[in-house]
């Protein structure tokens, strides 16, 4: 959608615009047209110009029609048929947290949930995990922050986020309207930081659980919590003391002993685990003879890490009795099934969404189709199907 014409000439080109999420929200309340008229009245532009940011072309179709169709599209998307309806996909993704289906959008790859709502029906997801939220606003890392690798990407975003208070204030009201549960991803540098973020976010609409990012490899110190079972347990315990909501701990594959960390946080009261965060990696710019990423190394994600994530899910699921959410390279229902059979109760879809914004919904649809085709009563029958202890071979 083209931007609006600035109200006054001296106003900065992009300041006067609202974010597309905000626009969508208002569009759904059918205020778009009125506002456009107001804007037009303000600066003397025609309605078409105000709506498109372009001077009105003589004789061409009025561009305002385009805006109206966008509103219809958004509505149509929301009301679209849900092929997964009627199939029992509900799962317990953490102690005390049951979701309508086992597909979550992964932290850092889905913003605050509102952005992709413009493109897909996010209310069809099991839940959305928001971008890592810290006590204070963080500007993030120097450029470059992203590089492509074989079947994956490296990122070094550096937890750029506006801070817990701002996230709660700005996104709470929007989450209330999203129609999907929100899990808040919490990051920090001290036990106090984690506790502060959780306390700040308590009572925010739609928030159903916290996911402790003890594993972000990009920030100095972040490595500590997730790599040391004692520290990870300490953070978990402290957070559990301030909230009744389920607390999920997200494991880092970069820890020397991932299973030990998993056991320690379960012991400390964690209600669930996510396995895994990104894997440390690097690329060099040969022409410049230096690392591509501004921070040197970064976190690898995407299909490239799927076998690693699957292996760790398989190991962790056998070591603990709380639910495990698998994450790492999920692109399709088949990938998700691998994680479920390896013992995961749910999956997160992250990097795949960048390539195909519909990927998370395709996973939901594909899982429903599989459950139907296999004549299962519920998707839950598949959880851990490939674990040695159960050994239950799949029908067919």
């Amino acid at each position: 959608m083209p931007w609006r014409r600035p109200r006054r000439r001296e106003e900065r080109a992009y300041e006067s615009r609202e974010s597309p999420e905000e626009r969508l929200e208002r569009a759904s309340e059918a205020e778009e047209e009125r506002d456009t008229v107001e804007l037009a009245a303000l600066d003397g532009a025609s309605i078409v110009e105000a709506a498109t940011g372009e001077p009105e072309a003589d004789g061409s179709a009025p561009s305002l029609v385009i805006d109206a169709s966008r509103i219809d599209e958004a509505r149509a998307a929301r009301d679209a048929a849900r092929p997964e309806e009627g199939v029992d996909l509900s799962v317990e993704v953490a102690r005390g947290l049951r979701l309508r289906n086992p597909v979550l959008a992964a932290s850092g790859t889905f913003g605050q949930g509102t952005e992709y709502a413009e493109l897909i029906d996010v209310s069809r997801l099991g839940a959305v995990v928001n971008k890592g939220t810290t006590r204070n606003p963080r500007p993030g890392n120097p450029q470059y922050r992203i590089a492509e690798t074989p079947a994956g990407i490296l990122n070094s975003i550096g937890l750029e986020n506006p801070g817990a208070e701002e996230v709660a204030r700005t996104y709470g009201p929007r989450w209330a309207k999203l129609g999907v549960p929100v899990v808040v991803n919490v990051a920090g540098y001290s036990v106090d930081d984690y506790v502060f973020v959780v306390e700040t976010m308590l009572g925010t609409p739609a928030v159903v659980a916290f996911e402790l990012n003890v594993s972000c490899p990009n920030v100095k110190g972040g490595m500590l919590f997730g790599c040391d079972p004692l520290l990870a347990a300490e953070v978990t315990r402290a957070v559990k003391q301030v909230t009744d909501l389920p607390v999920i701990v997200k494991l880092t594959p970069n820890a020397p002993d991932v299973v030990a960390v998993a056991r320690a946080v379960e012991e400390a009261g964690a209600d669930g685990l996510t396995a895994i965060n990104t894997v440390l990696g690097m690329r060099i710019d040969v022409a410049r003879r230096r690392p591509i990423l501004g921070t040197g190394s970064g976190g690898l994600s995407g299909p490239a890490i799927r076998p690693i994530a699957l292996h760790l899910t398989y190991q962790v699921a056998q070591a603990v009795s709380i639910p495990v959410i698998g994450a790492g390279g999920v692109t399709s229902a088949r990938d998700a099934l691998e994680f479920l059979m390896a013992g995961a109760s749910a999956v997160q879809v992250g990097t795949a969404t960048f390539a195909d914004p519909e990927a998370p919904l395709r996973v939901v649809e594909g899982l429903a189709a599989y459950v139907r085709a296999q004549g299962l009563a519920s998707i839950r029958e598949l959880i851990g199907a490939a674990l040695p202890a159960r050994g239950a071979p799949l029908a067919e």
Binding site: P2, Y14, G108, Y116, Q143, Y144
Partner: protein, 274 residues
């Protein structure tokens, strides 16, 4: 923005600039504006994984076609650059902000460096019938220049090449001073060093007295090229530093007020991924 399966109509090599892809995509074309971009998936698989952002080089709403220049950078860029007529292309767009031409602008000055020609061509085609348009194009050599026969006849153009193979030897900023006096509004797109040079001209103008040519610099709009991940505003891979703090090139940008971009904060990139 929408997801749309476009169909390639034509693929024409444009010197060293890359492949000019004409794609039938009425949904995207109907919504697109100069300065915005489309995020193109390089295939249907997951390797290469990331979409590539391409600024609209032409928007033909009536025919439902868009054109983009694709540099064959990386395996993904190569794959897209090699698409031929009839091939499908997975498009996400239009994305980002657009240039805004003031109603009272009589003389519009457009400045393009390399593939930065894309949004300038859209502006030139749209504005040529409405006001006086002068386009300054710069490139390393004549092979890096946009062919003038693909511009509206009424557009005046000035070319610069670094090797002197065509037009004025030097950079676009060398020929700007005399044109700025003429211009009511200035819009530019190109590599970071070119935009940074414009930024320095603006800073000098801001400090200096009120002289002809000052206003268009102070109010200039520029489109920035940057590495991207999602292009949906969620990953924050694409941020640059602006007067308002970090801004996402894919959302708040790619079009920014020149005055707002903090060039000293570092070079973000040229288009495409290494």
């Amino acid at each position: 923005m929408i997801l749309e399966e476009g169909r390639v109509v034509a693929n024409t090599a444009i010197g060293e600039l890359g492949a000019l892809l004409q794609v039938h995509a009425p949904g995207v074309a109907g919504r697109a504006a100069a300065g915005q971009f489309v995020h193109v998936r390089p295939g249907r698989g997951w390797d290469p994984l990331l979409r590539r952002p391409y600024s609209f080089n032409r928007i033909d709403r009536r025919a439902g076609d868009i054109e983009v220049i694709v540099k064959p950078l990386g395996t993904g860029g190569e794959w897209i650059a090699e698409r031929g007529p009839g091939d499908a292309l997975d498009l996400l767009g239009p994305l980002g902000s657009a240039f805004v031409v003031r109603r009272d602008t009589r003389n519009l000055l457009l400045v393009a460096g390399g593939t930065g020609i894309a949004p300038m061509r859209v502006l030139a085609e749209r504005e040529a019938a409405r006001r006086n348009v002068t386009l300054v194009m710069g490139g390393r050599s004549v092979a890096h220049l946009w062919p003038s026969e693909r511009l509206p006849a009424s557009v005046e153009y000035v070319t610069t090449t670094e090797d002197g193979s065509f037009g004025v030897r030097g950079r676009v900023t060398d020929v700007l001073p005399r044109l700025l006096v003429w211009a009511d509004q200035l819009m530019a797109c190109g590599p970071w060093p070119m935009l940074a040079a414009l930024g320095r001209m603006r800073d000098d103008a801001a400090r200096g007295p009120t002289v002809p040519g000052r206003a268009p610099l102070l109010e200039a709009q520029v489109a920035v090229e940057q590495h991207m991940g999602c292009a949906m505003g969620v990953c924050r891979a694409c941020v640059i530093v602006t007067a308002q703090g970090n801004a996402r090139v894919c959302r708040e940008g790619p079009v920014f007020a020149l005055a707002d971009v903090r060039f000293e904060a570092g070079e973000p990139a040229t288009v495409g991924l290494p």
